[in-house]
Symmetry: C2
Subunit: 209 residues, 2 copies
């Protein structure tokens, strides 16, 4: 039965219902592990499902940080070091990635069994098990007045990827890489390709590419 | 073969390669149709793949608008009317949704064969074919200095959905609704559920819920 949830009806629901509902009505999302380190080298790893493409030239990637009224290691480490990594999650370790969201005193790498990996002089840890790894430096931090969240924008410094995943036109085959998607806060999915479509132009019929 | 793309190597690629590459390395994304109307009633419809969850209380949804150095109907209409709609895309009409990105003089509804639908006194058109429709009012507009894009934040006013899709805890079953996902700019996917996982707590084993 088609139902209207008005703003009042949404606000009248309990917090738990509302979080699940609003987090899932935005559709399938990417989820990735963000790796950071304190200045003393202590590592942190946490899943984020609010990654958003900001631009290709220069290559910029954003994500939403919840209000920092409570301590958030990922935020503190990014502010301190200016560096972080974004690592894809695959079917083989999405449970470990999900578990990395729990509150740990020590490193989430140790707690979940995922392996930190370092490249050259980059200070933040990558996730060895990830097929696609992105190293970023903090570019811009934007306060969102509406609810005190923060948009963190990172400038991509390097991308580590198996070259067999990258098509000639730059497209990355995420089904081949086994990257997973998330809905809401806790539902994991394996996307199956329908098709790639040609560039849309007025008066021109689309074709599969 | 594992390959490193340094920032310089990314910037040396042609624009076409870089757009595909950077748009796809962020992982699977949601894609939805945003419906707006001019004050005179002329309708506009365009696909966006940068939706991001901003918060649940109050319910807020964001998306990235490319620089408005060229006229953008969606942006102009949102600024004028203060209202817009976000509509899920399904397997049955993702080709039409993709085609809605072409430059049309008239309404993309007419051009693509999708049907506008109006609810109560809300001025922006919804997409009748969508199983999940969200009505929003413009809440905040944030300029991103790094590349002159804009984060548009909307306050959810109403959600129209078949109640059979909404689980008791608020989770929306997007596989049942047939919502699709996108990778890059043009690759469409149908996600298949792996599992929902319990809330992650230190020292507690995750279970499927």
């Amino acid at each position: 039965m088609n139902k209207k949830f008005s703003l009042n009806e949404i606000l009248e629901q309990d917090t738990f219902f509302r979080r699940n509902f609003i987090n899932s009505i935005t559709g399938f999302k990417s989820v990735a592990l963000i790796g950071t380190a304190e200045v003393n080298g202590k590592e942190n790893l946490a899943p984020f499902n609010s990654l958003v493409h900001i631009g290709a030239t220069p290559p910029l990637l954003g994500f939403i940080m919840r209000p920092v009224s409570v301590p958030r290691h990922t935020y503190q480490n990014i502010k301190q070091s200016g560096q972080y990594t974004v690592n894809h999650i695959h079917e083989s370790f999405y449970r470990q990635a999900h578990q990395a969201a729990a509150r740990y005193e020590g490193s989430e790498f140790e707690a979940t069994g995922l392996s930190p990996e370092y490249f050259e002089d980059f200070k933040a840890p990558f996730v060895k098990e990830a097929e696609i790894k992105i190293g970023l430096k903090l570019e811009e931090e934007i306060h969102i007045k509406s609810n005190d969240t923060i948009l963190i924008i990172g400038a991509i410094q390097a991308i580590y990827i198996n070259s067999s995943l990258v098509r000639q036109d730059g497209f990355v085959d995420l089904e081949q890489s086994g990257t997973i998607a998330i809905a809401g806060l806790d539902a994991y999915y394996k996307p199956k390709a329908l098709e790639r479509l040609s560039y849309p132009k007025r008066g021109k019929t689309l074709s599969a590419i």
